[in-house]
């Protein structure tokens, strides 16, 4: 009776048991709720990663140009030959990083976070991500016309895939965490928590189901808070107050939506063309990237506005008056520069260049409207704002994200009416001409058929977590109580001497008696067994598991080796299956 004697003095243990049972009964933390905690962790890590990346970019930029701050500003102060040299050198460095970095990695694992979330195994290659980020660092810092969201999201997605690897999370949970990392990256890059969550939900997951959206919200909010705590705290593009001159003005905004919807396919095709054109060039990767940089540099000699992601230019378009000739020139050169950077294979996104294109388009359109407007004091800047949103909605094929992103970037509520309308109209217009949107292309290449096939072929083994917590038939009541204390499970799986699954001990049955030491002397697991608990075999298709979950109220199922050898080898969580189902239709 050593067991009983050992239990008696542990008053603390009994109190803890009571608290644990009370907590479990009151809050019932499901795996989904635990995932929220991980999402918050990922948010913090993602924000820190983004902050470090931004800092590193500034340092490299200072090294190359001798100036801190805006890219356009830095380049405007450089002599013409350095305007060409710096981007070319940056391109060469970016190419070198990619070229030699790709020899480092051993794995064939995908570095694309979108792929990792939707079709991959939820792991983002570590070294390759660092190599890509380093390359993006050189491109971005040297003034290449490319957005920083690519490497920022990449980095935080890679960081967020680490806990999934270390703690051997199941596939859907790993994917979900990578999605959270991506949301955190976007939220901290644009100081836009809502858009961060919606970007990933709409563009990557293609779903707003609460199982997947909740964690995204948590991580993007956390990331934003961390970013605001350590860096800036304003809207990225604060705008002067926006007023509808008259309700009739909604008409020109509708037309602006159509204009953006028509322009977006041209923009998308131009980017793709320049990519294939550069690939045809008989040049080494390093030379190709250097050439891309040099093209940007040559354009920068004419207009330094083409340099960098275009943040300061967007800001200027939203605030300052422009003559249409200058802005048209900037627009054309910027698109060419973006094509050259993107086409030469530089790593990064096209988010801010796309914003710039949209805002310049909107401004030019606004100038045209202003020419015929009967209202005095007409400003074209507001059209730039709406055009930015409509063009973003069209080019990304994600109107919800565009509306929210614009609202968050500007924190201007008055803009909502024309913005929503123009975004939706732009999206529908663009869709009639173009089905390959920005960001969608990486996934498109994989092919929807591959996605469906890959998922349909999954069995319990793919989502199973190995080595479940198990107790023996002769485990004492004390051991049972401790197991319930130390874990969040509602059922303990019981195995016999040969590791065969024989049933469960349910927390529901024993919860009222966990603090009674006397029972430890007389009861063992066998006495409390529930044999009718459903189990599933490791080679069963996932539909079977879904069917069992549908009938039982359990959150978790024991996974057995086979019908002939009912050895307990793992467990399958309902949450994993749900998440998996959420990711089933990555894009509508």
């Amino acid at each position: 009776m050593a067991v009983a004697r050992a239990l008696e003095p542990t008053v603390l243990l009994r109190r803890l048991l009571k608290v644990r049972v009370w907590l479990a009964e009151t809050f019932r933390p499901t795996e989904l709720q635990v995932l929220l905690v991980w999402a918050a962790v990922v948010g913090v890590v993602g924000a820190l990663g983004a902050y470090l990346f931004r800092g590193a970019t500034d340092v490299v930029h200072w090294t190359l140009t001798g100036r801190m701050g805006g890219y356009v500003d830095s380049f405007a102060h450089l002599p013409w030959w350095r305007r060409i040299l710096v981007p070319a050198l940056g391109g060469a460095l970016a190419g070198t990083a990619l070229h030699y970095g790709s020899r480092l990695g051993r794995s064939q694992r995908s570095t694309d976070y979108m792929e990792a979330i939707v079709v991959g195994d939820g792991r983002v290659a570590f070294r390759q991500s660092l190599v890509k980020s380093l390359s993006a660092l050189f491109s971005g810092a040297s003034g290449a016309s490319i957005g920083r969201e690519g490497p920022l999201v990449q980095l935080s997605a890679m960081l967020s895939s680490l806990p999934g690897r270390w703690f051997r999370f199941s596939l859907p949970k790993r994917r979900q965490l990578v999605a959270c990392g991506a949301a955190a990256g976007i939220a901290s890059a644009y100081n836009a928590p809502i858009a961060g969550a919606f970007f990933v939900a709409e563009i990557v997951l293609g779903s707003l189901a609460m199982e997947s959206f909740g964690p995204l919200v948590v991580s993007s909010v956390t990331a934003t808070l961390v970013t605001r705590a350590i860096a800036r705290s304003n809207a990225l593009y604060p705008t002067p107050s926006f007023v509808l001159q008259s309700y009739w003005e909604i008409g020109p905004y509708v037309v602006l939506g159509i204009v953006c919807g028509l322009a977006a396919p041209i923009y998308l095709r131009f980017l793709r063309r320049s990519e294939t054109a550069f690939q045809r060039l008989p040049l080494h990767r390093i030379a190709r990237l250097a050439l891309g940089g040099a093209v940007v540099g040559v354009l920068a000699v004419l207009h330094p506005e083409v340099c960098g992601n275009g943040y300061s230019v967007v800001y200027a378009i939203l605030h300052n008056p422009w003559t249409w000739q200058v802005l048209l020139a900037v627009l054309v050169l910027k698109v060419v520069a973006t094509g050259a950077t993107f086409g030469s294979g530089a790593v990064g996104g096209v988010f801010t260049p796309t914003l710039l294109t949209g805002s310049a388009l909107g401004y030019l359109y606004g100038v045209a409207v202003g020419a015929v407007s009967p209202y005095p004091g007409f400003v074209a800047n507001t059209y730039a704002l709406v055009g930015m949103g409509a063009f973003l909605a069209s080019a990304t094929g994600a109107p919800v994200m565009a509306i929210i992103m614009l609202f968050e970037l500007t924190l201007n509520y008055q803009i909502i009416l024309p913005l929503m309308l123009a975004c939706v109209i732009g999206y529908y217009t663009c869709r009639t001409f173009e089905t390959k949107f920005l960001y969608g292309e990486a996934l498109e290449r994989k092919g929807a058929a591959v996605v469906a096939e890959h998922l349909a072929g999954l069995t319990v083994a793919d989502l199973m977590r190995p080595d479940p917590l198990e107790i023996r038939v002769n485990s004492s009541f004390r051991e049972i109580a401790e197991a319930f204390l130390q874990n969040r499970f509602n059922n303990l799986y019981v195995v016999d001497e040969d590791d065969r699954f024989v049933g469960v001990v349910s927390l529901h049955d024993v919860k009222g008696y966990l603090d009674q030491p006397d029972l430890a002397r007389v009861l063992i697991a066998e006495d409390l067994l529930r044999e009718d608990f459903p189990a599933i075999h490791v080679d069963h298709p996932l539909e079977e598991a879904l069917f069992i979950f549908e009938r039982s109220r359990s959150e978790r199922l024991p996974v057995l080796e086979s019908a002939t050898t009912p050895r307990l080898i793992g467990s399958l969580a309902k949450t994993d299956l749900l998440l998996h189902l959420v990711g089933r239709h990555p894009r509508a």
Binding site: M1, A4, V510, L519, R521, L523, D527, L528, R530
Partner: protein
């Protein structure tokens, strides 16, 4: 402009939660009432359990068999021999000894149709288990599979009653079955 809307949302959320709460109260109420039913249940079980006073056995297996005899032919038992075998098998895994001279041999077996209980009182120490722990009171319980929580409630209730030293002494000294039941049910 946004503020009134936000207030409205919070108000709606509040109302929604108010609407959700009552069912929980109903559930809690139900749980309380089922507990009181169980209390009368256990007293009933004690009254119905057969009692053997003055066991003659000198070892644990014989004491269990002797106490079990009191249940032979009882309506709760489907196969008497299988039931006793199950108890003895369980005894070999880990003999359930409560201390203070009380043994609680039991088994979860298909051989019983209902939770069955029998008491046996020895006037001398009977050695139980590999440690030869002296036992005076044998509480024999059988339960069909799938009644874990009911069974646990019953065992916990019994254990609770044995906690009082005066009760234990009175039970060991009970002259007959009626006195035994009166003390235990009291």
């Amino acid at each position: 402009m946004n503020l009134p809307l936000a207030r409205l949302v919070f108000l709606a959320a509040g109302l929604y939660h108010l609407g959700v709460d009552p069912p929980r109260a109903v559930r809690t109420g139900m749980r309380t009432s089922s507990r009181s039913v169980m209390a009368t249940d256990t007293t009933e079980r004690i009254v119905q359990a057969p009692v053997r006073i003055g066991l003659e056995a000198t070892d644990d297996e014989a004491a269990i068999r002797e106490t079990a005899e009191a249940l032979r032919g009882s309506s709760g038992i489907l196969e008497f021999d299988a039931f006793v075998d199950a108890v003895l098998r369980r005894q070999r895994v880990e003999p359930p000894l409560l201390g203070h001279g009380i043994a609680l041999p039991h088994a979860r077996t298909e051989a019983v149709r209902d939770i069955v209980t029998a008491f046996g009182v020895a006037r001398h120490d009977v050695p139980f288990g590999p440690d030869r722990t002296p036992v005076r009171l044998v509480v024999l319980v059988g339960t069909p599979p799938g009644r874990a929580s009911e069974y646990l409630a019953w065992v916990a209730d019994l254990v609770q009653r044995f906690r009082d030293a005066r009760v234990r002494d009175a039970l060991a000294a009970a002259p007959d079955a009626e006195a035994f039941v009166r003390v235990l049910a009291g």
